[in-house]
Amino acid sequence: MSRLVVPSIGPASSVQDGGRFGAQRYGLTVSGAMDRLSLAAANTLVGNEPFAAAVEIGPFGASFTARDGAVRVALSGAPRNADVAGNPVAMDTSVTLKDGETLTLGFARGGAFTYLAIEGAIKGEPVFGSLAVNARAGLGSPYPRPLQAGDEFTVDAASGAPELRIELPKPASGPIRVVLGPQDDEFDEANKALFLNSEWKISATSDRMGYRLEGPAIKHLHGHNIVSDGTVNGSIQVPGNGAPIALMMDRGTSGGYPKIATVITADIGRLAQTSAGTAFRFKAVSISEAQDEARKFAQLIRSLPDRLRSSDTVALNIEALSDANVAGYAVSAVDAGTWQVAAEP
């Protein structure tokens, strides 16, 4: 066995997997990765099951050091600068950290969550079938709380398998798609239109429980008290102050505010990866279109192993280069072979 230690990590980072299902009837929150596709992609790169437990890294930086042997990991999700001893590591690739080597990650550049999957997956004691951290309920393993500097994981020694990259489809752009309801009849046509036709921003007070939306106040037809009923990932409820809240993975299993719409399964990860302050819109689709998209999304996750490529075949990665330049490093195409980063000015 090797160890992967965490010398530094920002807030809002935790162990997450596919989630904790089956006890919502007792109020047990499902939790799980905010961006399931990125979790699955990272896991697939290192040969794990798609929804195995991995590290969900919040918008700030982090570092991971291999001890007592080599550790093979992979990154997917919100893009950020990553390097091992000054050698850049691209998103959507695997990399093996030799004993003592440190993978250093910068801030997320767009989006919020990046997934670090570890070959052999994170090990722990599952509760209701999951290692996912639910800090409010004190659940999650090996740490039932967000990660802190000094934490460590006991992990499989690296297999020595060749490094891989994964070709993901270009993320969809455009509005976040919703199915209206279940309580859209608690709003009149004008307020439904206001919800669908306005520009929204995610408030900085958002977290894994819910994304608070900033925009026009949505008025209820009969007031904001309804009898509490069940919620799902992506329920958009409207409390008394008229500011909608999109319920995310650490949502309560029920709620008593009218839910005007529900984000479709295929778009929840996109919403999760929308940075605070970025303007976006919603678009209503039919239930049959939403279910077609959900089936396509499930098919995409099943197809991830077919999207693996040898990382030797990486041509010049223009996107990674421009990303690096955006971050202020002086990287030219000429240096691409060595990926040497110029010293700070």
Binding site: R25, A137, G230, G240
Partner: protein
């Protein structure tokens, strides 16, 4: 053959869940039908259903749209949900201790003022209730109770609090509640109970079940501290009364 019952409304909750709504208000008959449908689906599962969540007035049915579509699932649910109800089985009753007011119930005085009466009177009306666990939800063990005295019905807060304490006993709208863990809430906080309706390494993990009966009794803050220590050690503080 007994006549079939009126069909519930089928409201899509996105692409992977449907809210089977029997009533828009808190209604004892509707809650009976929710719990009966929940039992029926557990006894004869429909392929594609992954999980069900009973609430006051609706059953939330989670399903995999890769296995069954909204229309096909809706037909099957309606066929079951319109069948006559099976006979009701006997409920158990919990007696739950509550320390009212002060630091444990920061809204008690405001609630009394809003309703034009005294804190003691609010406590008397709350303790006087005969409640039923209509559903459990929001956070682990949060038991939503029907049976709140009509004179205590009041709108939730305009701005939900970001954090309220573990064990909070509160009211919101026409509902009363036993909250287990610290959580956000828009309800009015009357007191706290040392009872844990959810405790991970205790048997049972979850104390209450939908359909259980509940009554409250007042304890002083010193008794709260003593009971809280015992509960923390895994003792079941609530008294179970065999009906």
């Amino acid at each position: 053959m007994a006549a079939t019952l009126p069909p519930p409304r089928l409201l899509p909750s996105g692409d992977s869940a449907v809210t089977v709504e029997f009533s828009r208000t808190i209604d004892e008959d509707a809650n009976q039908r929710v719990l009966a449908l929940d039992k029926a689906l557990a006894a004869s599962p429909i392929d594609g259903i992954t999980e069900t969540v009973p609430t006051y007035r609706s059953l939330l049915v989670h399903y995999d749209p890769g296995k069954i579509g909204f229309d096909a699932l809706g037909e099957k649910i309606l066929a079951i949900a319109t069948q006559p109800l099976p006979p009701v089985t006997k409920a158990r009753r919990w007696r739950i201790p509550v320390a009212y007011g002060g630091e444990h119930g920061i809204d008690l005085e405001d609630v009394a003022k809003a309703l034009g009466t005294t804190p003691d009177d609010i406590v008397a009306r709350h303790v006087g209730g005969d409640y039923k666990v209509a559903m459990i939800g929001f956070t682990p063990g949060w038991s939503y109770l029907s049976g709140l005295d009509k004179s205590l019905h009041m709108s939730r807060r305009q701005n939900p609090r970001l954090l309220t304490p573990a064990g909070t006993i509160s009211i919101g709208g026409v509902q009363a509640g036993i909250q287990c863990l610290a959580a956000p809430s828009g309800w009015h906080l009357l007191g706290r109970t040392p009872v844990r309706t959810y405790q991970l390494h205790r048997n049972p993990t979850f104390l209450t079940e939908p359909g259980d009966r509940v009554t409250f009794f007042a304890i002083d803050h010193k008794t709260f501290e003593e009971m809280d220590r015992a509960a923390e050690a895994g003792e079941i503080i609530a008294e179970q009364v065999v009906a």
